[in-house]
């Protein structure tokens, strides 16, 4: 049998000892560059390793996100952790098992094929041999490169993978611990920042005496150029200092935005770089009617429930960092650049934080803490952002305007399709042209501005993510108008462009179905060849009682939507029933997904449900407001998210296909949920609302216009 192909992660980190170790306490430790962000990845990776090694789950540990132990796997993003890190760990564990079995066979003077493994060790002909992995592990050169020579198990032999193993990390988290926020180091100092109000703003004066009076306790003030932090052994004292500080600081060159700067309808007026994908424009427009839909989505926030925090200590020229960022190796590189330290002098370790859903303030807080730590060598510094700081200074998900246009033939089927997207860049992690961490902008003039770079097609696109419908639509092209400079910092938010694009595509599909006099589900199925796509739609429709959908325009509506995330990850369909009087109320959500081999079915359902709620929250409620220096929605009153009284019962089902490769699921229901809501509201009202969020004001405007 041919050896399986090495994953990209393994090619970049070939040494076996970057991935696996057999520890003296007779446990195996596998390492991953992917980190726990509430999605249960550590549990799933542990299941994969335990499966290949035939060890009980409690004999396998996962070290995730440690620059001294584990592999560099960049960031934990794009629903790739099981697909890439999981596949790597499967190969490494299978190879380790093979190497260990060969050593044991030599000792036992038998053929490797004669040996199997159980919880006690190697077994030959049903008898324990008295040897286990740890007896022979010392005889293997773990610094060697992985070859992919191990043969992973057949899925039909799985006993741990495919089980809904409970999450490893939850018992601590329901008992008051488990978060970086909870970590206490000896003699730890607390710190808070005074933020540079906008990039390029210069601190003219700071009334330190007034701030010290307001702190009502001993504080130190760390100032470097336009970066300011307050430090004390007492957290409440620095909190008071930080609370008071903006009133005692004078800045020059502060940005002055207007609320209209946040309006997605203005995006086509901004300078953009165009990227065209897919089929060329037809030289002669195809015959048929043209149907078009235009939708917008405002800037939206990650809005993590816990403010960003980081711990850092600088001693003997070495910097230790604890962070809840999405990638510790990239963080180390970025800290080295910002602090002008050697990468080898920095050790970053991931500790769980509150859910981030993308690139939020986590990395920036790590640089903040490191700056303060270098000013206070020898002491651990814990720097936490304030709530307003989290809302105002995290990078946000870009506003988008999307036009989807189809030419339909006499039967009502599309023969030509164009998706046009206007959007600021979706990923601006430090290291991209002209992009540095937040505090680095305050330390020294930032590097020269570079044109924004969205993720390329092979990484699933940024703005155009899921802009290519899976339906048979004839000639298909996507035109991405990538905004050169947005008014505020934007970066990766769960699903990138998928939510607005799926909202537009699936809205247009409903319009096309109505125009053809067809049922929306039947119309979609008529244009879909992939049986897995068809299956999730059919099952969702059955769960939702689609045949009893009812008439349009009654105030109650049922909508459905479908997408395959990035067109290569999990398939998901979502149906939502709503009632609309003055505002939209969800009565029920159903979702069905196909993620291939389900490593942990309950963990996947948890992700599906969460994606439904978050997608619904973005579609119905959320909008980052701009005013003055930047973001003006800086608390949960001005940035409301979906609450318990607004979340309906949710049914999430999984179509398990154990023989198919595992597909990423973390983001697959977000777009279809928003789109299903859009379609349900259109069904309830008899007319479509094109601008998110679908607020009371927009419902009222739609009713009045009708």
């Amino acid at each position: 049998m041919n050896a399986p192909k090495l994953t990209a992660s393994l090619q970049a980190n070939p040494r076996l000892d970057r991935w696996i170790a057999f520890l003296p306490d007779r446990t195996a430790r596998v390492a991953s560059g992917k980190v726990e962000i509430g999605q249960g990845i550590v549990t799933a990776l542990r299941q994969i390793a335990a499966e290949e090694l035939d060890l009980p789950l409690d004999r396998v540990a996962v070290a995730s996100g440690d620059t001294e132990i584990g592999p560099d796997e960049a960031y934990t993003t794009s629903s790739l952790s099981v697909m890439v890190s999981g596949a790597s760990i499967r190969l490494v564990a299978a190879e380790a098992r093979r190497l260990l079995t060969e050593r044991a066979a030599l000792r036992l003077n038998c053929a490797p094929e004669d040996l199997s493994v159980d919880a006690e060790g190697f077994v030959r002909a049903g008898e324990a041999t008295g040897l286990d992995y740890w007896d022979v592990a010392g005889e293997i050169d773990w610094t060697a490169a992985a070859t992919g020579a191990g043969q992973p198990k057949r899925p039909s032999d799985y006993r741990v993978v495919g089980e809904s193993a409970p999450r490893d990390d939850l018992p601590a988290k329901v008992a008051g611990g488990g978060f970086l926020h909870d970590l206490v180091m000896p003699e730890m100092l607390h710190a808070r920042t005074l933020r540079q109000p906008s990039p390029g703003a210069a601190l003219v004066s700071l009334d330190e005496a007034a701030i010290r009076r307001a702190a009502r306790g001993e504080i130190e003030i760390v100032r470097e150029a336009n970066f300011v932090a307050f430090v004390s052994a007492d957290e409440w004292t620095v909190e008071r200092a930080a609370e008071a500080a903006p009133a005692h600081a004078e800045w020059r060159g502060v940005r002055d935005l207007r609320p209209a700067d946040g309006d997605a309808h203005g995006l086509p007026d901004l300078k953009a770089n165009d990227h065209i994908y897919g089929d060329p424009e037809p030289e002669v427009p195809p015959a048929g009617d043209v149907v078009e839909i235009m939708i917008t989505r405002p800037y939206v926030a990650h809005a993590s429930l816990g403010p960003s925090v980081a711990l850092a200590k600088f001693e003997g020229g070495r910097l230790e960092v604890r962070s809840h960022g999405q990638g510790m190796h990239p963080l180390r590189r970025n800290l080295a650049g910002a602090l002008r330290l050697d990468e080898a002098a920095i050790h970053c370790i991931h500790v769980d934080g509150a859910g981030c859903y993308g690139h939020n303030g986590a990395d920036d807080a790590a640089l903040d803490a490191a700056i303060v730590a270098m000013a206070k060598p020898g002491r651990w510094v814990r720097l936490q952002w304030r709530r307003a700081e989290e809302f105002a200074y995290e990078p946000v998900g870009p506003a988008m305007l999307v036009k989807a246009r189809a030419t339909v033939d006499a039967t009502g089927a599309p023969v030509d399709w164009t998706t046009d997207i206007w959007s600021p860049v979706h990923v601006q992690r430090p290291g991209a042209p002209g992009v540095v961490m937040l505090a680095a902008q305050a330390l020294r003039p930032p590097p020269p501005w570079g044109p924004p770079v969205d993720p390329p097609p092979e990484r699933g696109y940024g703005g155009p993510r899921n802009a290519f419908p899976l339906y048979r639509v004839g000639a298909l092209r996507v035109r991405h108008h990538l905004t050169e400079r947005a008014p505020i910092r934007t970066s990766a938010l769960r699903g990138l462009g998928a939510l607005p694009n799926v909202f537009a595509i699936e809205g247009l599909m409903d319009e096309l179905a109505a125009r053809a006099g067809a049922d929306p589900v039947a119309y979609r199925l008529g244009l879909l060849d992939d049986p897995r796509a068809r299956a999730v739609i059919e099952r969702t429709a059955a769960l939702a009682g689609w045949e009893d959908r009812g008439e349009a325009g009654t105030g109650r509506g049922l909508g459905i939507a479908f997408a395959r995330y990035k067109n290569i990850a999990a398939y998901a369909a979502v149906a939502v029933r709503v009632s609309v009087d003055e505002e939209v109320r969800m009565e029920r959500i159903w979702t069905v997904a196909d993620a291939g081999l389900a490593v942990n079915p309950d963990g996947i359902r948890n992700q599906l449900e969460g994606g439904c709620v978050q997608g619904a929250s973005w579609a119905l409620k959320e909008e980052v407001k701009l005013d003055g220096p930047g973001i003006a929605s800086i608390d949960w009153e001005s940035y409301p998210i979906l609450r318990f009284s607004e979340v309906p019962d949710i049914t999430a089902e999984l179509i398990d296909r154990p023989a198919e490769p595992a597909l990423g699921v973390g983001e697959c229901t977000v777009g279809p949920t928003a789109a299903a809501i859009g379609n349900a509201v259109a069904h309830a009202l008899g007319r479509r609302i094109h601008d998110m969020p679908l607020t009371r004001e927009r419902v009222m405007a739609s009713l009045l216009a009708g």
Binding site: G38, Q39, G40, S164, P166, R167, D169, L170, P171, A172, K173, V174, A175, G176, G177, G178, F179, H181, D182, V184, R216, G217, D234, E235, W236, T237, E239, A303, S304, L305, G306, P307, D352, G353, A354, G355, Y357, Q384, R386, R387, G603, N606, Q607, E609, G610, C612, V613, Q614, S617, D635, W636, E637, I641, R643, F644, S645, V647, D649, I650, A652
Partner: protein, 154 residues
């Protein structure tokens, strides 16, 4: 600084607290009750909920001085990682959480709800949890966990 004495999870404690210092910092930093999570400092998210003489209160704004002589309960009093109490066990059984940052507040709100309404309906559960935000979208599971804690699910 002022001396402050109260009962924390059934045991008498005495600490120094700063003037106007919210209960949250006293519980987390002086008394190690890290379940009391900082979320907003504005009583808007519910992460910091505790019980004061059995009634739910938000520790992020409640001045510590207000609990002098009173009884404060936090999640630490419900059970530990190795021996979770019944409400914690119900949340674990339903795998009711993703990142878990909101869960302390959910557990406290559940305890307060079930003390008043031992067999709550779904609307009553949602109303009781409405002041508690969950950003990951674990709502469905959290509602099921409350039902399980109430003995309404097997």
């Amino acid at each position: 600084m002022a001396r402050l004495a109260f009962e924390l999870n059934g045991k008498p404690v005495a600490v120094e607290a700063g003037e106007d210092e919210p209960l949250l910092y006293v519980l987390r930093n002086a008394l190690g009750a890290t379940s009391v999570r900082f979320g907003c400092g504005l009583e808007q998210c519910g992460c910091c909920a505790v019980l004061v003489d059995g009634a739910k209160a938000f520790a992020c704004t409640q001045p510590a001085a207000m609990v002098e002589g009173k009884s404060v309960e936090t999640v630490e009093g419900m059970g530990g990682e190795d021996a979770p109490g019944p409400i914690q066990s119900a949340f674990l059984a339903e795998q009711a959480g993703q990142c878990g940052y909101c869960l302390s507040g959910m557990l406290i709100a559940t305890k307060a709800l079930l003390a008043e309404t031992p067999k709550p309906t779904r609307p009553e559960i949602r109303a009781a949890l409405d002041g508690h935000l969950c950003r990951c979208g674990a709502h469905e599971r959290i509602v099921r966990a409350v039902e399980r804690a109430a003995g309404m699910r097997p």
